[in-house]
């Protein structure tokens, strides 16, 4: 599993010609009383690890070090290390521009934090207009036709952490139902985004009760997410490999 941080610059430049650069991004933010601040970053990395293991080096993927900080202003009421939206946009734009300058033509961003999602998708749209590249982006939890709603610090993430980092999971406290449910998690009409000031504090910092989470459930979830990411990488490779070659022919 080639990692950019361990490669010399010549190895990186060679890999750039045909490989795909992969950037994991996460967050440092409150995850209720039982999950660690780095949950989103660790889970993005765990899913990437799982997927790259499945791919066995085909296609060539060069893994960048994860960006450990994300856009979490809605969690600053408890604790977070958050980048403003403009800062995260700038970081992603700089990384994409650097990779293109170093010779990479294909880059994939794999995200583990909901608050990064629009910013990441916007970043690949923006940069693909500026250089002759093919860029992809996904959140590990929304990949695949069967992707459900993962929630924050609830059953979904707790199960995954029990599978990936059991030593970092404390006993979750039962979470009383929040009435009405938080608007960001359950919008009043499908397709409508609703954001209300103070809603995360009102909801107590999580979306659902985590006490039913199990390591077995997490292991299954992790496998499905890793498998989906592996398929997505293969599909991205196939869809952009030929085009890329023909573009080279024309130039």
């Amino acid at each position: 599993m080639p990692e950019l941080t361990r490669m010399t610059w010549r190895e990186a430049a060679t890999a750039a010609r045909t490989g795909i650069a992969l950037l994991p991004i996460g967050s440092q933010e409150q995850h209720a009383g039982h999950l660690p601040m780095g949950t989103d970053t660790m889970l993005a990395e765990a899913v990437v690890d799982d997927a790259l293991t499945r791919l066995c080096g085909d296609p060539d993927v060069v893994r960048l070090p994860a960006l450990p900080f994300g856009h979490s202003p809605h969690h600053l009421f408890a604790a977070a290390v958050s980048l403003r939206a403009t800062t995260l946009q700038a970081v992603l734009d700089d990384v994409l521009d650097s990779l293109a300058t170093s010779g990479f033509r294909r880059v994939l961003i794999v995200n583990g934090h909901g608050g990064n999602d629009e910013i990441m998708r916007l970043a690949v749209k923006q940069y693909s207009l500026r250089a002759d590249v093919a860029l992809a982006a996904c959140s590990y939890f929304s990949l695949g036709a069967d992707a459900g709603t993962p929630g924050h610090a609830g059953v979904f993430e707790t199960s995954l952490m029990l599978a990936a980092h059991p030593d970092l999971v404390r006993e979750p406290a039962p979470r009383p139902a929040v009435t009405p449910p938080p608007l960001f998690a359950e919008p009043p009409y499908p397709g409508l985004t609703v954001e209300r000031h103070g809603e995360w504090a009102r909801a107590g910092g999580s979306t659902d009760d985590a006490t039913a989470a199990t390591a077995a459930g997490g292991t299954a979830l992790l496998g499905r997410r890793g498998s989906a990411l592996a398929e997505a990488i293969r599909a991205f490779d196939l869809a952009t490999r030929e085009t890329h070659a023909s573009t080279e022919g024309e130039a």
Copy 2:
């Protein structure tokens, strides 16, 4: 149907106490050879008109003038009047901040152009952290559980324009299939965003053949979209009316 532009400032300030401000946003961009540049703006306005007619003034909605320009850098290869992403973010932030300063606590943005979608949703997330407001955002075409993929300058938009502005629709030319299909419209894996340089030009500026579009189909579509928006507005009103009142009681 109260319009901000026609109200005096005292009428606006009174309506702000309990009403919902509604901002339509669209674009000016190429829509193949048969649809006008302002298609997205006109359709957002047509759906808003339909929805507000259905609501008959309950709840109170104050309609702002539509922002006629959107984020369309991917259409500049043909013709467009496009705002950069940072500019559109700034415009939406300024409008939200002005409305909050004028006393509005609830605002809904209704969008007609795919390229604005992330920016708009990000804008309401950002601003709701800064002031005690409840904000909503939607694209008229992705509202409701049955929302399909609308496409650009194809059957969906052409049908709607035949219903809303038949005098502005020219005869669509048959559109040969693009192989492989454009990556932005049909990503190689569900949930993956893929953007490739020059893809819109390769696809010839539209996503599907429009020759099967009909006015009757457009009328039905327009009704469904308008009905969905009306329901979304009612749901937003219900979800935020009480909270707003109780917040006032606390203060």
Copy 3:
């Protein structure tokens, strides 16, 4: 009267070769108790309509949809939807850049709001350095050798609105004299700009008593402003048509 929003992109691209793009800009802001929030936008549009009717299509002018929001921070004390100065600069820069990219070489901005004036003139100066274009800008009320001081929500604007949109004009309340007169309206020395914090609130939001305004006076004013704008467009066309052609010959 060709409107960009109703043209296909090919029609727009054809018109761009020799035509002039015209962008009206206005505001949404308090206009005392008797005029609507959109007064400046409506008057800019009314004068543009009048001028384009007089010109009968010679020269070719492509009218863009009006920007309904302007720079009105000094009216936020009552009610306004205001763009910050940097936002309005960005919008104008983006529109000019888009038009130049789409092939237009000549653009005219027609403004209806005093607060936009410097920003607009600065925008055309800035952009003309970046691309081979000829750009013009004016406020409808300061055009022509006989241009007077129009005031805000006083006799001038009320008369024009009585002519252009009589249904939107409420009965103006008599306005007591403000002593000393507001510094922004009557600077203590000719050529000196003076701005004092809170001055618009002290002046009660308008510059002069509107009770003497008449529809007949407004009709005459509107005709003179429309006629002046028509002459200005002809003069801009003549001054830049030949140069433009010779520049093309050189290239």
Copy 4:
């Protein structure tokens, strides 16, 4: 003539209570073959000197060091040290904010360069919304009811420099008429701003023939400009002194 640069901070803080801070701004840019790069800065300072001498310390004016660089992108084709518009805006905003923080409530900017004019007026409008201050701005050449069109590196500036800095004036070369005259200097219709790419280079860098300039004419001009500025300062002082006092009484 108190100069901020020579005062201790306590002297500055004391003067700030009732005095007016005065900031001269200029440029470094080509002024044809016979005038020096710093012409605009030197003339702004010469007029300020003349005015302050006439005022004899009534009212109290604290003179800041001149900002020697201005916004001159249109002169970079020859030679200039130019600040971008956003940079000059930031400098003026920072200076105004610093002065307000240090206790000054009244500031006057005196400008010597046409390219700074809109930016300067915009700066005082912007900042007066943020703090309880009274701000003024003028260009020395457009002050007073009899202000004419000064031109660039022509009779007006050359005469003034012959009066203020005769040792820095070289023999002006006769300047052939430019046909048609440069659009920035003689707009095709009164009140219309027209900017065409490359127009300053086409005009040869000046607006009119300077050979008729005389030191006597310059001395008279300098006196009239200095006298006008002195009157403007007195008028600004009178208009804002009482208000300022009463505001203090209220607070």
Copy 5:
């Protein structure tokens, strides 16, 4: 060694009251043919590990995940993932602001890359003006009275990597002397910073021959750097612990 990424938010909030947050920052950039791209990040982390081990938890230090990307525009000629200066400033400002919001009053940034040095020191100066905090910053290689000139990809860094990550060090190629020596590494006069376009490419990407590097030398160097950092942390703790307490008493 408490790591923020592994702590729950309540643990982080508790630690914030008296502890010091420590952020390592590095780079991804070419390090000649024998060292990996992530050298600077790995060395900053190695020195931090060494220092924190020596401190044995006194004082309390909460370690943040390292920022793996730095400001390396001068290495983009070969390969790098570089953040622009404004982006790195924004990241550091956001991290400091988040930590202060989460309750931390003392933060230390430990840097491993020369190109980050001014930006980092500027960031702590800027932020300490905005909030009641005590901030520190250092580059691990310039800490202590005996700090020498470390160079880039030469004996210093190669020795350290042979000690910290021997598996990642390739055989260094002998490096011919560059005449004259690169201006950024050996300025022509002490205290003068000189930067010349293309100088890094001319120097071949490193500052000195690495073939004499040894693991033993690296181990000694690492110990001295770790020891110096441990002393610096103790000194920072002592210098700011009492003041912080007394400030709390005053409030």
Copy 6:
């Protein structure tokens, strides 16, 4: 001593081919009770004057007018005219870009204020990546192997001002020792930058007692600083003259 402000643009363009442009930068900020606000600017200019006199025109140096304002946010608690860091960065970037556009290939910035130091060094690093230039930067007080710690408004600056501008120096008041000494002036560990909120106010605005300052000491100091700057300019000229010539030969 050629000054840009007094040269015509053709003289400037000619000098640009081989000469070095020199920009002094300073500040306007509190310097305790006995030194004037402009101390840093005046001392930078005095040292530049001394150095240029020693050089007698070899090499050719074109002196720009000093930027009289610097980055002094830490002195706003007393009185200062301060540019934000981003503003000063923009000013320096614009000046460097203008000079390069006008033909200068070599520029030296000479600084008199500690708060400008990182920003200035960062500016020359940034700009040298964008154009084929050789740029240098120094603070007059840190030039030369024997450069000590100058302090603020203490013996060092007071002595220099007694030599350069004795009429502007008031009697310094004895300054009691500040315990502990201010962290910015005496960091708790060598190489560590420490910044604490409110530290400049706690230290009373200066770093050391100035009562021992003498004119004779200042004259000696001024000569040593001027001599060091003259040598630095000669060294910069030698180091970049040949390279520049050979680059020209290649082009």
